[in-house]
Amino acid sequence: MMMELLQWLEHTPIAHAIRDWRWAYPALETGHYIGLSLLVGGIMLIDLRVLGFAPKLQLKSMIGLLPFVWVGFLINVTTGSLLFIYGAVNFGTNHAFWVKMICLVIAGLNALAFDLSIKRYSYDWVAAERPPPLVKTFATLSFALWLCVVTAGRWMAYI
């Protein structure tokens, strides 16, 4: 069932188009790296700031980097999906790929929890520049999870 779906994906017109144009794969990969710089770069800066790095930079402005993170995320969902469709059977049966997806989902839930803690906390820790310990835990987890996403992503080619 799963295998049939993967094989079907590989034979969609999109997959054929990527296979037919020589530069499609390298271009998508490059796009994925640029998206990664925005996404992981932005998130790491926010995480490190919450953890106390560069205290002079306003927490509010750093969290204001989120639009860049979203742009990076959208670039990577798009390029990542296209790369997956192109090599569905290979990727879908790759353990590193599934580790990456699991880390990605947990990182997403963690980011959601972080976001809720900004919106729902009884006091405004962003304005007070004083992240509560719980939020620092989210930031630490976030850093570790994104490191796992990148690591698993790189290892896909070797497993």
Partner: protein, 158 residues
């Protein structure tokens, strides 16, 4: 050419090239370093270009240590990856272009730091980015993203 072949034969090079973990580990390090370096320098450049006006330009110098950590990670991992296949990398035009772009990006970063992080800029009046500073910041972004593009394309181009 003798030197490159010697490099490729060193213990470091053969370990990176032949061990199961060597190449992917340094590649991962290179990717994380890239995110740190481009993330922090990118933010400084975007701030000079007018984004995030809430951040004081002078205060963004707090990001420089992060940029240096990213750069150091990438210099180490990049060197390890280079020696593992020194002849191929040295002969690749895309690799050479990448190095040129990194050097240009570095010069730009040094120029911009001198302008926006110099002592007189501290305290008193806030730094107002001039057209010159904005040009340096804009071209910087082009150099660094160009370096990422070249890096990815080494595997596909002569």
């Amino acid at each position: 050419m003798g030197f490159l072949e010697w490099l490729q034969g060193t213990w470091v090079a053969t370990t990176v090239a032949e061990s199961l973990w060597g190449y992917p580990t340094f590649e991962t390090m290179h990717t994380m370093g890239m995110a740190l370096l481009i993330g922090s320098l990118g933010l400084i450049n975007l701030r000079v270009l007018g984004f995030k006006p809430g951040l004081k330009i002078f205060d963004t110098r707090a990001l420089l240590p992060l940029a240096w950590i990213g750069f150091t990670l990438n210099a180490i991992s990049g060197s390890a990856l280079f020696v593992s296949d020194a002849v191929m990398f040295f002969n690749s035009y895309t690799f050479r272009l990448k190095i040129v772009l990194i050097i240009l990006g570095g010069i730009n970063a040094a120029l911009l730091s001198r302008k926006i992080f110099s002592e007189p800029a501290q305290g008193g009046a806030a730094v107002v980015p001039t057209t010159g500073m904005k040009w340096i910041a804009g071209t910087s972004l082009v150099f660094w993203f160009g370096a990422i593009i070249c890096g990815r394309l080494i595997a596909y181009t002569p």
